[in-house]
Symmetry: C3
Subunit: 482 residues, 3 copies
Amino acid sequence: MPRSFVSIDELTNDEIEAVFQLADRFLDEMATSGKPFRIQGRCELAQEHILATIFHEPSTRTRLSFETAMLRMGGNIISCADARSSSSSKGETIADAVRVLENYADVIVIRHPFEGAARVASEYTDVPVINAGDGSHEHPTQTLCDLYTLRVARGDQQGKRGAEVLKDLNVVLRGDLQHGRTVHSLAYALARFGARILPDPAPGCGFPDHVRRRLARDYNCYPLNKKEIDELSDAAFPADVLYLTPEEPHQLALMPDVVDVWLRLSKKQQKAVRGIKSVDAFYATRLQLERLEPGEDVADYPAIDSEFLKQRRYRNSRVLHPLPRVDELSYDIDRDKRSIYFEQAAYGVPVRMALVAALLELEPSVLQNASPASSYAQYSHANGVRCSNKRCVTRQESEQRYLVSKYWIVDERDLTLRCAYCDYEQEVLVVSRASTHKYTTDVAHWRDIDSKDLVLFADEHDAVEAGYQAKKRQTRSARSAK
Amino acid sequence: MPRSFVSIDELTNDEIEAVFQLADRFLDEMATSGKPFRIQGRCELAQEHILATIFHEPSTRTRLSFETAMLRMGGNIISCADARSSSSSKGETIADAVRVLENYADVIVIRHPFEGAARVASEYTDVPVINAGDGSHEHPTQTLCDLYTLRVARGDQQGKRGAEVLKDLNVVLRGDLQHGRTVHSLAYALARFGARILPDPAPGCGFPDHVRRRLARDYNCYPLNKKEIDELSDAAFPADVLYLTPEEPHQLALMPDVVDVWLRLSKKQQKAVRGIKSVDAFYATRLQLERLEPGEDVADYPAIDSEFLKQRRYRNSRVLHPLPRVDELSYDIDRDKRSIYFEQAAYGVPVRMALVAALLELEPSVLQNASPASSYAQYSHANGVRCSNKRCVTRQESEQRYLVSKYWIVDERDLTLRCAYCDYEQEVLVVSRASTHKYTTDVAHWRDIDSKDLVLFADEHDAVEAGYQAKKRQTRSARSAK
Amino acid sequence: MPRSFVSIDELTNDEIEAVFQLADRFLDEMATSGKPFRIQGRCELAQEHILATIFHEPSTRTRLSFETAMLRMGGNIISCADARSSSSSKGETIADAVRVLENYADVIVIRHPFEGAARVASEYTDVPVINAGDGSHEHPTQTLCDLYTLRVARGDQQGKRGAEVLKDLNVVLRGDLQHGRTVHSLAYALARFGARILPDPAPGCGFPDHVRRRLARDYNCYPLNKKEIDELSDAAFPADVLYLTPEEPHQLALMPDVVDVWLRLSKKQQKAVRGIKSVDAFYATRLQLERLEPGEDVADYPAIDSEFLKQRRYRNSRVLHPLPRVDELSYDIDRDKRSIYFEQAAYGVPVRMALVAALLELEPSVLQNASPASSYAQYSHANGVRCSNKRCVTRQESEQRYLVSKYWIVDERDLTLRCAYCDYEQEVLVVSRASTHKYTTDVAHWRDIDSKDLVLFADEHDAVEAGYQAKKRQTRSARSAK
C-alpha cells in the first residue's frame, strides 16, 4: 500500500525533516536570486505522473499551490475545482469516487466538508491521498508549510537548518482556535517538535475539548494557566495559558486531568519557562465565519498592527498567517520584515513538491516503508456507538451505505473512544454482547468480553434502540439463594 | 472534413474493433503489472495537440477520463467544466461556440443538455467533435467503454480478443432504461454486434418508443415477449422480453410491427434461444433522477447484492455499471470477482486515448476515410414539421436563430420522420407544397411532389398556423363533370 | 519592475506594432496551410513558465484563448475559472490574492467586476498582470486582437503589413457603446493610430462622458456632428458623429470644449473627411445586458444582416465583433467574405502568445524598458475626493482596507481629476489644507498649497463630513483693518 498524507501524524518527525530537506533542495536548485522562497522554472521529476485536485469546498490558494508544485516538477494535472456540483450531486460516495479516480491520477488531493473524508478516501484507493482540508478537522499540508516557514525563519536567525530549531520555540496561536483546522494540526506538530504553544484565542474561540485532550493524551502537551505562569515567569505573558510538552513523554501518559504540570517539569524546563520573555512567532488566523453556527458571532477579535508590533518583547517576533486574512492582520505591517506570511504562502510550492515527490516515491528514502503505527487498540462494530460529531464522515447518509464506524480506544480505564475518522472523543457508558443482546452499564469489565463479541454504546437509550436489553440485576435474594 | 464521434452509429463495427485494438496496444505498452486495466506514464503521441472539454452539465468521471487520456498521450487540455455559467449565459449558441473553439483546440469534447447538441456542434466546426452526453440522447464513448469491457471480460474467458466475442452474448440491461442515455447507445451497439438484449427495467422505466423502434428499424432487433420465451426456453428467464437480431438483416426491414419473430429465426437461432440459461453480463444503471418530470417517482428499483448473485445461473455473470451508482449495486459485491465496474471505469482511459488518437489521425488507418452513410433519404425545410421532443436542440430558442430542422425519412410508406439531431420519430399527417401553400392529408402520394417544394406537417393545425390552406376536395359532382 | 498590460495605453504604438510582428511570426511558423489565422502545434518558448487565469466573472473565450496561447508556447496553466466562489468569498482582497499568486505563476491574467481591479493587482505584485476585463472599464487584449484583425484585413487589401495601415481607416462602432468595455479601449487605440471613428450606438447607448472626454483630452480626438459632416461630406454618412484626431496632437490639448474642430484640421484632413464615402469596417457589439441597471431596457438595437450589407458603399466593409453575439449579427452573413469575426477570434491566440512572450521577456526587444509615462501630475490623499464611480475598485469595502484613492490631474485650470484606477473624471469644487483642516471653494489657487498638504473634495458636504471647516471669509471691515 502507498503512503497517504491525511493527518500530520502520518509523518514521523524524521520524515517531516526529510521532506523539508527535499524542499530545501528544490529551493536551492530552482529559486531565483533575490527571491529565495519562490520556485521558478520546471524540472522533469514527475513527468510520468498526473495529480488530481478534487475540491468539494472552494479554494484558490491550496489548489493552485498543489497544481503549481506538480507542474514545476514536469507533471500533469487534472482538476475538479467544484466537485460539489458534479458526481457527488448524483449521490456518488467518497469510496466510489476515489476508486474511479485512481485509474486517472497517480495521486489524489482532496478537500471535503465531511470530517474524516480524506481518511475514508485513503482507505479505498491504492494511490496516495493527500488531505487538503476536511471540514474543521485537519489541513496537514498547511501545517507542513507553517512548520517549514518557522524552521526557515528560526534557522536563518540561528544560522542553521533542520527541524531541531523548532524545539523551545514560543509560538502564540491567535484568533479562531476553535474552528480553524490549520491551527489544530499545527498545535499537534508544535507539540511533537517540543515548541511551546501560547494560545491567544478570540473570546469564545479557544481550543475545543477534543484538541486539548489530544494534545495531552497523544503529545503529553499540558497547559499551565496564567496564574501559574505569572508566579513562575518574570515577564508579563502574552497568553492566558501555556502548553508545554515534558521531556519524558511517558511519565504523564495516563493522566486524566491536567493539574500539577509544573511539578513534573525538569529543572531545566522550569528554568526555561521562567525565562520566557519573548514570542518567537505569532500565528494569526481569521475567524472561520463559514463554520459558525447560525446566529453565532464573535466580538473583539484580536488583531495585529504596526502599533502592536512596536512592543519591545515582540521585536524579533515573526508574524505568520495561513491566509486569506480579514481584519486580524493590518495592511500596515505588510512591509515589516517580521511579517513573513507571503513567504509562508510561497513555501507552499517547494513543500508540496517535496511531499508529492515523497509520496510518489520519485525521490528514494524520504519516507519510511510504512506509516507510523498507532499506539492505541482499535474497536469497530456495525452496531453500537456512533460518532458524536455531526460533521463526521461516518454520520453522513451517503457514506453510511458502506462505512462502518471505527475507533481508537484512547483510554482503556475509562473506556474513552476516539473516532478513527474525525478524532472526536467520547466516553462509553454501556457495554454489551452482540451474541446475547444483553448490555450492562458496568463499563469497568469491558475487557472480559471477546473483542469480536463486544458492542459499545454511548448510553442506554441507544442500546435499547438497537434492540439490546439490560442484563437483569441479580436481586439480593437471588444472590443469597446462590 | 474530419470524422466526429457524435453517435455510436458513426463508427462501423470494423472501426470499433480497430479502436479497441489500439486501446489494447496502449494497455500492453503502458499498463503496469498487476493492474492490466490501468494506463500509467506518458507517451508523446499527441504532444502537438490540444483537447477541449466543454461541459454544460456537471461531470467528473467523463471529463477527467478524457483529460487523463489526452495527458497520457503527451497532449494538452483546455477545459470549461461549468460552461453553463460562461458564454452560453450571455446567449452564445452552440454553432458560434464551436467556431471559436476550433481555433483554440484540435478536438472538442462536449456535454450539453440539449438533445442533438453534439451533432449541431459537429456540423459547424472543422475539428472533430466528441459527444460526451447530450441530454437523454446518447453517450457513445461510454458505450465504447462498456463494449470494450464486455469484450475483454468475454475474451479472457474464451482466450481470445476481438469484437466477435460479443456475438451471442446474453446481456441484461437493468434499471432506468427510459432516461439513461448510456443504455440506449449500448443497446444499439449490442444489436449491431449480434448480442441478445434482455431488458429488466424498473417499473415504468422501460425502453422508450423511439429506442424500440430504432432497434427494430435500424438494427433488425426485435423483441420476443416472456410468453413466447417461456414456451421456447427451458429455463426461467431473467427478463420479460428478449431482443434478438436475425442473421439476415434485410428480411425484416420493412415490418411495421413486431409479431412473429420466432418464425423468421433460422433453425440455428431458434436452437440458440432455446438454450439460453445463463446471463453473461448485467449492465445496471442508476435512476436518472435529474431527468424525471417533477413529481415523477420510481418504486421497487431493482438492485444487485451478494444474495442475488448467489443464484447458480449467475455464477459466471459479470456485473457492469457506468457509475456513479446509488442503491442499485450493493457495496457488498465490490470485491466479488464478477464485479468489474471499476475496471470498466479504468478502461475509459485507454478507450478514449484510442478514440482521440483515431479522430486526430495520430494513428493511421484506424478509421475509414468517411463516416458510414445513412441508408435513409433526408428531408429538411424551414417551415413544416418540428421535432416532437421538447429537449431537442432544434426546439431551443437560442439555436433556432440559425438551425433548420432536418429529418431522415425512416419509413417511406407511412412517411415517418426521424429527427436528424435527437432521433425522435414522428408520423407525418399533412403534405403540402411550398409553392402553392396548399396542403392535403393524403400522405400516400408525397413522392409526387418535388423534394424542393415538399413541406410536411405533423397535423393540420400546424399547417394552417404556418399559413397553408387545405386543398379543396373535389366534390362528387365536380369529379363527374370531368 | 516587470511590465504589465492593464490598459491599452501601457503599450506605445511602436510596442503594439512589435507585438503584432511577433504574432505575425507565430502565424508564419505555426499556422497550417489553408487556415493562415489559426495557430497549431506547439513550440517550446515558454516551457519554463506558468500562466494563471483568475476569472471573477465567467468567460470561455478569453480564458481559453489565453490558455491555448500559453500551451502552444509549451508553457503551463493554472486556472481559477470561477474565482468568485473561492478565496474572495472568504474576504480576500485583490492585493493579497496577487501577492500569493506571484509565487505560483509567472504571469497573472485577471478578470474582475471591480473597475480598476487589474491596476490594483499590477501595483501589488512583481509578476506581469494582464487585464482580461475589469467591469465596464477596459479589456485591452481584446483591443489588441481587434486592431490586429483590422491590420491584417487592411494590410491584405493594400498588400502590406504594419500598423500604419490603420491610419485613415473609417471604422463604425455599433451597438452598446456605453457599457461595452471592449469598444472603449478600441476607440482609444483607433484614435492613437489616426483612424476615424464613426459611432453608431443603439438608442441611449452612446459613449459615456468619461470616454468622450478622454478621447479629446488624451488623444486629441474630437467629434464633428452630423450637420457639420453633411455640409462637408459628399455622401450620406453612416453615423451621426465622426471622431477625428488632428495631425498635430498638441494644438488642441487644452481645449475645454469641442467646437470648431473643422477649422483646426489641416487642408489635407479636410479633404480626406470630404472624401469619406465608404466604411472600412463595422465593429458590432452585443448589448451588455448584465451591466444594465435593473429595469433598464434598450429598443431598436442595430443589427447587420445580408440585406444591410448589400448597400454599395459597404461592398468592401469588413464586419468585426468581439463575440459572443446575440441578435446584432444575423447568421445569414456568416459565410460572407466580409465577415471576419471568426478569424478575429482566431487571432486571439497568436496575439496573446505575442503579448505573453513580450511581458515574460521570452522574446527580446519587443517592449521598451519602461511603461510609457503619463503626462499628468498625480494627486493622492487618504482623505478627500472619492471616485464618483460606484463600481470603481476604490469604492469597494474589501479593498478600502488598504487602497488609497489616486488621481491624475487632467485639467489643471479647472482642477479636474481622473481616477487612476477606473478613469472616471470629476471636477473638484473644494480645496483644503490637511494641516489646518480649513477649506475654500476658491479652487483657482490650488497650486499655492504644497502638494503634501493638499486635500481636495468633490463638494462642501464631503469636506464637512471629513471634519474640515470653511475658511472664514474676510469681511470688508476686517480687510480694511489690515
